[in-house]
Amino acid sequence: MSLFINLSLNGITNGMIFAAVALGLVFIWRATHIVNFGQGSMAMFTTYLAVTLLDRHLNYWLAFAAALVAGLIMGAVIETILIRPLRGKPALNPVIVTLGLFILLEGMAGSIFGIGNRSFPPAFSQAGLTFGHTKVAFSHFDVFILAAVVVLMLGTLALFRATSLGLRMRAAAFAPEVARLLGVRVGRILTLGWALAAVAGSLAGLLVAPTVSFSPNFMDLVLVYAFTAAVLGGLDSPVGALVGGLVTGLALSYVGGYLGSSLEPLGALAILMVVLSARPEGLFSRPEPRRV
């Protein structure tokens, strides 16, 4: 029973991280109808920037903030240079370009920062908390993870629901032509969507890094789990990303705990195959009508 509780707690924590990356995928999907397979590598890169700054004895939270800002800039630059010229091209082209970005960034990180494993200090203690007399697999750092992702989610909700920028972003995603006629700078909005997605990814990278000894491919699995989560939630729904992230996190935690961690990716594949066979539009979005 205590194994089950610990696996559940672990699954929720991981699920929140998947949800953060999935939220980034959702931002980009809503803005440009592209799945950004470079999302994980971009986060990896900014995490390496943060750890390099920490090596130079910069304040922890300054390095943390620097990584988020670096993500913001990186997302905007990548959208402008790589994604914008692909508009109107067949749907396969951006898929291939973001896959190119994926290994390009991994190769660059390996070249610049070295391929050896690094460690990232956690912001808070990673020792399990004690409730009564039982120690559970839930630490101060896990609380921080939950809080950070909840803040990210609430911020997203506030942005979309309560600000005029959010309204413009929704308009640009929903009907770009009409939005443009009504004075929305659609191009800039799309760039902003990519930038915010990269921030969400960078945050996830900073939250994952202390829990693993990391190398340039440490976000690969996080990316595919987040993709599973995003597809489960329907790829265009932020709420779907959160629920999908939690479901994926819990399911994979049980698979890893009861069957062995090397079967976790296979579990994600199974979830994805079932979801895509039974309900390809995901749990939280409507099927698109086919147009002839």
Partner: protein, 374 residues
């Protein structure tokens, strides 16, 4: 533009010296002819090369097989797959397990590798029929990450880190073993290319292209869209299975390190670089895949960039290849070459190629080059 006898001209009949050669009109005969010419050429080539260079020619041949399957899947049928490396792993492990646990002839093991990876292609291809590009890419990406871990989990059966040992086939008579293996691999590549060239010229090939261009229209025209997509996926997976088995024979050992996600992405890059939807493009892609590690080492050394860069330069270059080719020349090397040849010929008056300012074709509309062979 119909040719004088009312037939739609193929690319071949547009090239004057080939028309002058009076090649057979029957596609199978023509492809067999190309195959025979290629076989003679390769015989002369391999006889003059050292054992190490023959090893590399054999590796090129096996990557050609994997890339040709991927090229058919992506270029002709419009499906993207990052699972090609995973299917290669299935082929290689099938061969490894069978040679370790049974004493069947090598040909049976290789056949089993093709069949088993093809069968897995059906399993993965069925949910894939409902998926559009990015979803399929994501699903096959997970496949590429997940499958090798099964071998890590069941180490007793799959040999764990050590992997499974595979012995190269024994040559008849006094033939050099490496040369014999290279011949087998080249023969495999030629046979696969002839079969794929015929497939793309057949009813199935037309269905593949119809489904790629417009699924709904293809369905309304009576094509069974799902079945067509599964067939393309199965063919691509079988090709990868054969390539994987050949890779096992080449390096003599099968372990998971060979079949990382990187392999799948390199294959995608090689296919895109050569030109999706062509059967000549895979040769360009395979040459780049086989020689890139050596090239990036010598580049890193000549600029004294250090070992970290040397180890990662291939990744950087393949990443750039994927990005730059997609943005600048989406039809790849082969598409670019045939476009240039076509433009050059159209400048000469009185030669078959239609005039006009036709731009280079895009990845999803690349016409198939069905000249096969080498």
């Amino acid at each position: 533009m119909p040719s004088p006898d009312g037939r739609t001209p193929t690319r071949l009949s547009g090239v004057p010296w080939l028309r002058w050669l009076r090649l057979p009109r029957q596609p199978l005969l023509r492809h067999l002819l190309f195959g025979a010419v290629a076989a003679v050429g390769f015989y002369l080539l391999t006889s003059s090369l050292s054992a190490f260079n023959n090893f590399r020619v054999g590796e090129i041949a096996l990557y050609v097989i994997a890339l040709a399957g991927l090229s058919l899947l992506t270029g002709t049928n419009g499906q993207i797959s990052l699972g090609q490396g995973a299917f290669m792993a299935v082929g290689a492990y099938t061969l490894g397990v069978l040679t370790t646990h049974t004493h069947w002839p090598m040909a049976v093991d290789v056949l089993a590798a093709i069949v088993l990876s093809g069968a897995l292609g059906v399993v993965v291809g069925i949910p894939a029929t409902r998926l559009k590009g990015p979803y399929l890419a994501g699903m096959t990406l997970i496949l590429a990450l997940a499958l090798p871990r099964i071998a890590d989990k069941y180490t007793a059966f799959f040999g764990g880190d050590q992997g499974l040992t595979v012995n190269a086939p024994t040559p008849p008579g006094t033939i050099d073993p490496q040369r014999w293996l290279t011949w087998i691999q080249l023969a495999g590549a030629i046979i696969v290319l002839i079969l794929l060239a015929n497939l793309t010229r057949s009813r199935f090939g037309r269905s593949f292209r119809a489904v790629r261009d417009d699924e709904i229209a293809a369905g309304l025209a009576g094509i069974h869209v799902a079945r067509t997509k599964v067939l393309a996926f199965t063919v691509a997976a079988s090709c990868a299975g054969l390539a994987g088995a050949f890779l096992g024979l080449s390096i003599g050992v099968v372990n998971t390190g060979e079949f990382s996600l990187t392999l799948s992405i390199y294959l995608l890059a090689g296919m895109v670089l050569g030109g999706a939807g062509t059967l000549v493009g895979p040769w360009w892609g395979a040459i780049v895949i086989v020689f890139m590690p050596g090239w990036s080492n010598s580049i890193a050394n000549s600029f004294s960039l250090g070992s970290a860069v040397a180890a990662n330069l291939s990744l950087v270059i393949f990443g750039l290849v994927l990005i730059v080719v997609m943005m600048a020349v989406p039809m790849g090397i082969q598409g670019g070459v045939s476009w240039l040849v076509g433009r050059a010929l159209s400048l000469v008056p009185g030669i078959g190629q239609p005039r006009g300012s036709r731009g280079p074709p895009d990845i999803a509309t690349t016409p198939d080059i069905t000249t096969g062979g080498g």
